[in-house]
């Protein structure tokens, strides 16, 4: 074998660059392959982006692990099938009835539709991008020499893979609603599609700054004065933890954007007091959701910390969840009052608040069972199944779509925590 001269090396390098092959870098006479992974294109096919490759491996492993337990996969698939069936039947019935009238209203509120779609897409992309960048900042590949361009490409693909199918499903459902309701929905579909596209673009450019913000700076100030010199032996700090988590996770700028856009999207001619009530309702819903997220994030960490202590499950649950559940109760009551003030029948408003509280209780109980005493997944499935059946029997069919989505999201959040 003959070593090539420097000039031959440079020629090879130039040829490689012009042909798009991996670039070789000369440093102190030692030849380094710029990217070992990139030089093994056959291994990386179809993509040479290391982030995408790592994510693909992780995803494949998760899917394999999931299906390795056939009982779990079978139960879940059966549940999804059952609920999809219930949802399809219920939705069909609703569309033939009241919903046809609702669909007929859509062409008159194109701006509101577009703004709502923009809001949803912006929020999804902002949160998705921030979450991915935060994960990336501490990931094992964070110190690898990966170009920012590759990282952005990976993020784009990840967000598209997550949200594009959901957007398509919404548009297809809208089209289906038009068919059943015998209404022309081309304009509403266009408005929603435009809103999704615009929201995605806005979200992409608005959501990419979290990586630069030091996470410590966003930590809430701890209450010091009361405990300056005292060492109380108490579990009350556990109860404050979900709220501290909530304050740390809040993004006031994003929430202000959402409320601002909601204001713009309100149809003309609505009385001012209704606008205020609607905004309060949105704020309540956002707060309650954020509090539930914080609680689900805190439960596994607290359980992990305190598992080696003799703290009984009951005391642990009470100390950790009491305040947060009281907060949810207040949010539920406020939500019901606001809904009633907006003209929803009081019984229906109370039913919706009860449904939310039932959801919060089930998610909390499942998180506790899963993390504190290593409860089996079957218990979780049965709990959610019972709740879903109870709610779909009593509340509008929309819940059949909404609740499985929430279940999936909460489960993912708990596993991530």
């Amino acid at each position: 074998m003959r070593w090539r001269s420097d000039s031959e090396e440079r020629e090879t390098e130039m040829r490689n660059e012009s042909s798009g092959r991996p670039r070789r870098v000369e440093a102190n006479g030692v030849r380094h392959v710029h990217s070992f992974l990139a030089s093994h294109a056959f291994f990386l096919a179809p993509s040479a982006n290391p982030i995408l490759l790592a994510w693909r491996f992780e995803r494949r492993r998760r899917v394999r692990q999931f299906f390795a337990r056939r009982a779990r996969a079978g139960t879940l698939l059966a549940l999804i099938g059952v609920f999809a069936g219930i949802a399809a039947v219920a939705l069909g019935q609703r569309l033939r009835g009241d919903a046809a009238a609702l669909v007929a209203l859509l062409p008159a509120h194109l701006l509101s539709l577009a703004v709502a779609a923009t809001l949803v897409a912006t929020s999804a992309i902002v949160h998705g991008r921030r979450h991915a960048e935060r994960q990336w900042a501490t990931a094992w590949l964070a110190s690898a020499p990966i170009a920012a361009r590759d990282m952005r490409a990976a993020l784009r693909r990840r967000l598209a893979a997550r949200w594009l199918p959901a957007a398509v499903v919404v548009l297809v459902l809208l089209a289906a609603a038009g068919t059943v309701g015998a209404v022309t929905v081309a304009a509403p579909i266009g408005a929603v599609a435009l809103g999704f596209a615009g929201g995605a673009v806005i979200g992409w450019y608005a959501g990419g700054r979290a990586a630069h913000a030091p996470s410590v700076a966003t930590l809430p100030r701890l209450r010091q004065a009361r405990h300056e010199h005292a060492f109380e032996v108490t579990l009350t700090a556990l109860g404050r933890w979900p709220f501290a988590q909530l304050r740390a996770a809040l993004a006031p700028r994003v929430h202000a954007q959402i409320v601002g856009a909601a204001l713009v999207g309100m149809p003309m001619g609505i009385p001012a007091h209704v606008v205020v009530l609607a905004l309060l309702l949105i704020a309540t819903a956002l707060g309650a959701t954020a509090l539930l997220n914080a609680q689900l994030a805190v439960i596994p960490r607290a359980a992990d910390w305190l598992r080696a202590t003799p703290l009984a499950s009951g005391r642990f649950t009470l100390a950790l969840c009491r305040r947060a559940l009281a907060g949810q109760l207040v949010a539920g009551a406020c939500g019901a009052l606001l809904l009633a003030a907006l003209g929803v029948a009081p019984v229906r408003a109370l039913a919706l608040a009860a449904a939310w509280l039932a959801w919060v209780l089930t998610a909390t109980a499942c998180a506790l069972a899963r993390r504190h005493r290593t409860g089996p997944l079957r218990v979780e499935l049965v709990a959610y199944a019972a709740l879903l059946l109870a709610l779909t029997a009593t509340l509008p069919a929309a819940l059949a779509f909404l609740l499985p989505a929430l279940w999936w999201r909460d489960g993912r959040r708990m596993r991530a925590a």
Partner: protein, 243 residues
């Protein structure tokens, strides 16, 4: 008086894989046992099982005479586990962590000795800061303080001296040694730091492929210090086991 830790025929691991394959181990009161082993040999898994964080598939664990499986609350009352730095609650302050841990152990007050140790370790200025703002070493110190609350009969430490500055490390080792020599506790420490195992422990157990391969008693350790040292002895044992 029962030994702080008595493990017999312990089998278990994560998911379907058996990491521990029949571990027998005793930590006596007034004894510091160091647990050595290659990466993946099952040290942390054994510690997780001993403190009730992992349910074993077979075998028994007794902490101060209480079965961890049957009488978990009593067993955990006699147990102090230094939780890993990254598992501490990031949004609580050190003071709040101490308060919660003490309440979880049903203590009336935080031990004065632990507070003195906190002062000596230089943790006092950090007491009202969020854990997330602390350095790795500071969090390690907090983890040890949490473990020492409530005069535990068994102190379980997993790579606790990693990240500590030398002065703090020495202070902590002396403190643990005093507790052990006074017969107040037994210490089980999983570590890769051979100097700690060789100079501070009373007994060194070598874990290999989920089993205790060999135990060096106090006399043997003293002989090793004069000869080739624990490093050579360890390498020879592992080479023989692999052959």
């Amino acid at each position: 008086m029962s030994a702080p830790l008595h493990v017999a025929g312990l089998r278990g691991g994560h998911a379907e894989r058996d990491v521990l394959r029949g571990v027998d181990l005793v930590v006596g009161r007034g004894e510091w046992v160091a647990l050595l082993g290659a990466n993946g040999s099952g040290k942390s898994t054994l510690l997780d099982a001993c403190v009730g964080r992992l349910r074993p598939r077979a075998g028994t664990i007794h902490v101060a005479g209480h079965a961890l499986a049957g009488d978990g609350v009593a067993a955990k009352r006699s147990l102090g586990y230094a939780i890993a730095a990254e598992r501490l609650p990031p949004l609580l302050s050190a003071r709040e962590c101490l308060a919660v841990q003490a309440a979880a152990k049903q203590l009336a007050a935080i031990d004065a000795e632990v507070l003195q140790l906190a002062e000596a370790l230089g943790l006092t200025p950090w007491l009202d800061e969020a854990v997330a703002t602390m350095s790795y070493g500071t969090r390690q110190k907090l983890g040890v303080l949490l473990a020492l609350l409530g005069e535990p009969a068994l102190v379980v430490l997993d790579e606790t001296f990693n990240g500590l500055d030398p002065a703090s490390g020495l202070l902590l080792k002396r403190h643990l040694r005093e507790r052990v020599d006074a017969g107040r506790a037994g210490v089980l420490l999983a570590t890769h730091a051979l100097d700690i195992a060789e100079h501070w422990a009373d007994r060194v157990a070598l874990l290999h492929e989920g089993c205790v391969l060999h135990c060096w008693e106090r006399g043997e350790l003293a002989a090793l210090r004069k000869g080739g040292g624990l490093e050579v002895a360890l390498a020879q044992r592992l080479a023989a086991a692999r052959a």
